[in-house]
């Protein structure tokens, strides 16, 4: 391989990351607030400061132990070609997401992501995953499908996790800008300010033990459950 072609490979890998982590990927991410709408309606997240605190806590305490770690595990199981472990992880994810809307949101995003990449890659491993889902042996949660696809695309594991956290951050901020509401520049400032945190938590996820998967965020779960009964709702979760 010439120097030139490896340069191209590097760039194409970057484009793959940008593509899968693109917040505008049409999988329905923006119709879910994942509890934020309840926080805003209860006037707990109400300005730039509280939004940033919310986003930071979600990255540090929720995404790190839940979907972020799920991405890493699914990525590793895919590389090992360990279908059994993937199926178990998917069922475990289903069992961990107690709030109904969160569980369903994650399923919906997952199946849509799979639909897109199933078509783009026409990869036998992904076709298999599709088959397990239609046979109801698997639900296909978003973080898991993301982990599988990034592994198949041979995206660097750390970068895949980092991009996942970045994508989640942009989604939270975009929702907050609309819901709170905040100015566009305020939103961008928050995304800029949490860069270091995203990096730190990516490294943290890389070394987490298996028993740390699914650590409960009690108050968040409660707000997500309360969302089912909010009087007026713009978001599906």
């Amino acid at each position: 391989m010439t120097e030139n072609s490896s340069e191209i490979t590097k760039l194409s890998s970057l484009i793959e990351i940008l593509h899968i982590a693109d917040p505008t990927l049409p999988i329905g991410g923006f119709s879910h607030s994942n509890g934020l709408e309840t926080y805003v309606q209860q006037n707990l997240v109400k300005d730039v400061t509280t939004t940033q605190e919310f986003v930071e806590s979600m990255i540090r305490n929720n995404y790190t132990y839940n979907d972020g770690l799920a991405v890493r595990l699914a990525y590793e199981f895919t590389l090992d070609n360990n279908i059994e472990a993937l199926l178990k992880l998917d069922i475990e994810t289903q069992a961990l997401k107690a709030p109904f809307e969160i569980r369903h949101g994650s399923q919906k995003l997952g199946t849509r992501l799979l639909k897109i990449y199933g078509k783009l890659l026409n990869n036998p491993f992904l076709n298999n995953i599709n088959k397990y889902i239609s046979e109801k042996k698997m639900v296909g949660h978003y973080a898991i499908i993301y982990g599988i696809v990034t592994a198949l695309l041979k995206i660097d594991k750390e970068k895949a996790i980092c991009a996942f956290l970045y994508n989640a951050t942009v989604a939270m901020v975009t929702n907050a800008v609309k819901l709170v509401p905040l100015g566009q520049t305020d939103g961008q400032q928050i995304i800029y300010d949490v860069q270091q945190l995203i990096e730190d938590q990516t490294l943290e996820i890389m070394k987490l033990e298996r028993d740390m998967y699914g650590v409960c965020n009690t108050a968040l779960d409660i707000k997500c459950m309360q969302h089912e009964h909010l009087y007026s709702r713009l978001y599906m979760s």
């Binding site: 509280t50 605190e53 305490n61 069922i91 069992a95 409660i222 009964h229």
Partner: protein, 266 residues
Amino acid sequence: MERYSLKTGLREQTILKDVYFTSPFNLVEVRENKKNHLLEMMLMSSSPGLLNNDFYDITIEVIDGSALNLQTQSYQRIYVSENGTQQNMTISVGENAYFSHAPHPTVPHKGANYKARNTFHIKGSSTLLWGEILTCGRKYVAEGEEFQFKKHHTITEIFQDDVMIFKDNLYLVPEEINLKQFGLYEEYTHQGSLFFIAPERDITERMERISEMFSKEEDISFGISKIMDNAYALRVLGNEGQQLFKLFSEIRIQEDNLINQKINVN
């Protein structure tokens, strides 16, 4: 290792078939109405709580068609422990069997380090009610011990016909994680989780009843959501162990009574 195990049996009503315990445990039958189907057992302990190096090993088997409620006598205290304390609890609930357990709150004292694993194996026709309440420690001692424990890690997994249907992973290390952050404990100090599954097709009415009951309470935040058509998870944050315990007990007693009504021994 400190152990207790029990297994139900079935005659006209549920009976205690096998029981085994080592110090500090003792298990006694406390069924008030001797005609009831539901076997009610009380767990007693001569120890003030979990001490350094304690490892509680618990096995409960509720056989097909039987019904068991396991009660506790007092708050479970966890004391300072350099090497940590552990609990392993394995529970199986058979076909058309019932098990309820909503113990007193756990109180991790200053320096406590605890790891627990609760594993349930149930069937499609089993009924299970499981509650767990964790306090912040001894809030009202003179020097105040709120969140002075070292580590508290409890993993609860429920399998129905070998498929995991619910998992709760409670991990608290107060000196590393500020629990006041969004999504964790926020302005509260106590937390409780309750899981319920019944063979009935729909549990919506039960959930509405609980929502109504909890809505009347002050100083708590709660949420209840369907895990499956016939299962719900309830989470609550509050500031008083006694209040949460009372609420969970009320739900538990209602289910216990339903089982006795459903299976009339006479």
